[in-house]
């Protein structure tokens, strides 16, 4: 029995009212602004976003360090990223994000390593600048093929007054202009990962772009593009790059999955920036537009409908050769896409999904689910801003439940009442819902599968959603004698 849109909206409103009852008044008032139901025709989703999380509610959010080291900088493979401060931050984020890369780890690539200044009490008391200098010297001795260093600040750095900029400049000079980037991404800054993205973007601007053209010999072509905001989780950027190349474009840089510093440096030579994760890299895209006149276009490589539209949109910035190339690519993969849909849609049609993810995914993956006949009935952003919720209106259906910076309690109650056929969220949520007997897929790490981007990725996405929802284990959660 399916509800009408009006009934859904009424149910959602009741549900929101119900979850708010658990909070003290002050908190209920604040949380109420983050929960809502999408109304068709409205310019955004009607919820407040990008404000401080409330103490004690079990937010799912992370911090600025996670946004900078974990997301933007960490995947740049030929640089060494120092987790500067105590040991924990680097330890918990060590190789956890599946930013795939090709390289000899420990020799010319360093992504899945944990470099830390492992702050001790004396570093807090006397400052860590001297130690940081020494660390850079030791890096030069032990990892001579590194092409740059970034300093990813953890909370204490900004609190004890260390001057990591001065250290970086001094050491850069000492090492013949070596790229050394101080990043003020202390975890207490801002309200979530989001500020970390912004700070990291700004440091690329200030400490990479503004250092001048490092590769004047690099010869451009009219078809040069840079992939911006793809972290190559499970190989996503590769499954995207191959399509862009097949349509005749030349990808000169990947930001930042499987990226190298040379690619960052050459990005201002692109003719178009193609932006996947708007949230984490719109800043640098805007900057490149303003400073270098490079237009940027957002695209969505989840599911054939959106891929098709995106390929055409990207091609529209180029000549007929590329436009024809895009059509060829679309035609080439259509048969495979039809086969995937033919196989999986009967198994997944009309299944309902609730999402809670970061970055672009709370909206971007909706089309992929719809290609399989599934319906997203609830979604929300861990660290979205209002411009994300505006963009979401192009994806969600009237009456979709919207929850910004959802709390553990709210998410559990929403899922319990709505009983979707699938929840897509993160590792912290996965086991909560599986205990409840609700199929789940991690939509940050692709649950160790992937890629999910591109045509190759969609086949995997469809397979994985099917294996989650149609897993026979869900028929076993109740003991027969109970």
């Amino acid at each position: 029995m399916s509800l009408t849109v009006e009934q859904v909206k009424e149910r959602n409103q009741d549900l929101i009212k119900e979850v708010l009852e658990v909070y003290p008044d002050k908190t209920a008032k604040r949380r109420a602004k983050h929960l809502g139901t999408f109304e068709e025709g409205k310019p955004d989703c009607g919820v407040k976003s990008n404000v401080k999380s409330i103490p004690g509610v079990m937010t799912i959010r992370g911090c600025a360090y996670a946004g900078s080291k974990g997301v933007v900088w960490g995947p740049i493979k030929d640089m060494i990223h120092i987790s500067h401060g105590p040991v924990g931050c680097g330890q918990y984020s060590w190789a956890a994000r599946r930013n795939y890369y090709i390289g000899t780890t420990g020799v010319d690539s360093f992504v899945t390593m944990q470099f830390t200044s492992d702050f001790q009490e004396k570093d807090i008391v006397f400052g860590g600048d001297k130690k940081l200098e020494k660390i850079m010297d030791e890096i030069q001795v032990l990892f001579p093929l590194n092409k740059g260093i970034s300093v990813q600040s953890e909370c204490p750095i900004g609190l004890i007054g260390d001057d990591i900029e001065a250290v970086s400049k001094k050491k850069s000079k000492e090492y013949d202009g070596k790229t050394i980037v101080p990043v003020r991404c202390e975890g207490f800054r801002g309200v979530s990962q989001s500020l970390g993205h912004h700070i990291a973007n700004d440091t690329i601007r200030d400490w990479i772009f503004d250092k001048g053209d490092k590769h004047p010999e690099f010869v451009g072509t009219p078809y040069d593009v840079a992939i911006i905001g793809d972290y190559n989780i499970g190989g996503d950027a590769w499954a995207s790059r191959i399509l862009l190349e097949e349509m005749g474009l030349r990808v000169i840089a990947q930001w930042s999955g499987d990226g190298s510093i040379a690619e960052l440096e050459n990005s201002p030579k692109a003719k178009l920036n193609v932006l996947h994760c708007y949230r984490s890299m719109n800043y640098i895209s805007r900057h490149m537009e303003e400073k270098y006149g490079i237009p940027w276009v957002e695209y969505n490589f989840f599911g054939p409908s959106k891929i098709e539209a995106s390929l055409r949109e990207i091609a529209s910035h180029f000549d007929d050769k590329i436009k024809e190339g895009a059509e060829k690519v679309i035609a080439k993969y259509r048969k495979m896409m039809d086969a995937v849909i033919e196989k999986y849609k009967p198994r997944l049609a009309d299944k309902t999904v609730m999402l809670f993810v970061g970055g672009l995914r709370p909206r971007h993956v909706i089309g992929a689910y719809e290609d399989l006949g599934m319906n997203v009935v609830g979604t929300g952003y861990e660290f979205g801003h209002n411009d994300d919720y505006q963009r979401t209106t192009h994806y969600v259906k009237d009456g979709t439940l919207i929850y910004d910076d959802v709390t553990g309690y709210e998410f559990e109650k929403f899922v319990e009442k709505i009983q979707p056929d699938l929840v897509g969220s993160g590792i912290k949520e996965k086991y909560v819902f599986q205990k409840m007997g609700v199929p789940f897929r991690q939509m940050h790490s692709w649950d160790y599968s992937g890629p999910y981007h591109g045509y190759d990725g969609f086949a995997i996405f469809a397979r994985d959603m099917d294996m989650a929802i149609n897993n026979p284990v869900w028929g076993l959660t109740k003991a027969p004698w109970k």
Partner: protein
Amino acid sequence: MTQDVQNVVDHFNLFRSPEYKDMFADKRKNFEFAHPDEKVEETAEWTKGWEYRKLNFEREALTVNPAKACQPLGAVFVAVGFEGTIPFVHGSQGCVAYYRSHFSRHFKEPSSCVSSSMTEDAAVFGGLNNMIDGLANTHSMYKPKMIAVSTTCMAEVIGDDLNGFISTAREKGSVPADFPVPYAHTPAFVGSHITGYDNALKGIVSHFWEGKERTPGEKINFIGGFDGYTVGNLREVKRIFDLMGVNYTILADNSDVWDTPADGEFRMYDGGTTLDDAKAALNAKATISMQQYCTEKTLDYIAKTGQETVAFNHPVGVAATDKFLMELSRITGLPIPDALTKERGRLVDAIADSSAHIHGKKFAIYGDPDLCYGLAGFLLELGAEPTHVLSTNGGKEWEIKMQALFDSSPFGKDCHVYPGKDLWHMRSLLNTEPVDFLIGNTYGKYLERDTGTPLIRIGFPVFDRHHHHRYPVWGYQGTMNTLVWILDKIFDEMDKSTIVPAKTDYSFDIIR
């Protein structure tokens, strides 16, 4: 290649197709400005030699791939071991996201924990309001029986006073006047996760015991310490205690909350030391800790209440388990039952059956100091050589103790202990002085890749193998598990190295 819908391939095989391989080569050649392959190979070779090892061991400031985490992780580990208790970490919120992810990746279980979500304004003015609001919200939302507070480094650097803040929050009605809010300062820049375990447990017991009169009884307190096998180990210890008839309280018993059933209900809280038991634990006759270096301050505190305290070093093996049981028997006055004697005999039998395959083999071990000690002791007992034993969070005292252990056995003659070193040091050790097997956590797989040393996964965290935390490694049965894991790897390696037809497969034996 496009996907074949009958056989969809993911990252394992997709990227091995020629189209992708060509794409990678083209990217490297034209856009990465990479070092020439010869240079990379030459440098890679250099990192394997003695010269590099010397430079590597001269490091004073840089830490690379450490095998330790920070204090609050240990505090959270303790907190969830009490009935209806939610850990509340005062400071930046990203830390809590990390702890929860870390535990969930190891245990494949939910890990509930809240943060006071301090930001810039709290950095300037202090986090008092975050504490007041946070405790109120947590209390009303998650209906805990206890909220156990610890700190991130942010709160420690700005010097927030937990005791004062919690009292103020209580006065402001965040929690009822008699609601337990034990706390511990757990600065990330001091010690490691095992220090945090110690501080948090001391914080909780002292919360319940401070100012109370002790009436000595017959019960025994048991503390497991920070332990990746806590689910299996605590259950095994309970089984042993029940077999012996010991009247016990397990402090910080998180074996249920990290092993809840999938039956349609999410249990944020499950099992755990009851708060009544935690209070009454003051009256115990003695407290036993399985991990000395996780419980130094806690045992010190407990000893001052008049209890006897006994600490082990993550006992694994026949002799170590014997010692554990005999101490237990001595303290309680209860005999060791025949059932356990029989288990012991079975373990000795298993070792006798298999020791030919282990005897003389060289091992490298890394992990928390107690785990290293326990495993090294077991290997010596098997006639194996724990050649390199490394603990990033092991100190001077541990070093001396490890050396004494080596000195106590002829198999320890060529063994060395490395306190305060990291896994990049270990890489040099394995490259220059190779061993047959490596024992460590999941991160050891990078060492396996770089040095070709087969990894036996024993430690924390283990992210890439499932469910081993459900098995004990303590007691005779636990030792049996450990023995089997080691043997499985030895036999797998034997098969792998003899599998080439017409070349090596004469030794591809069907009976071993």
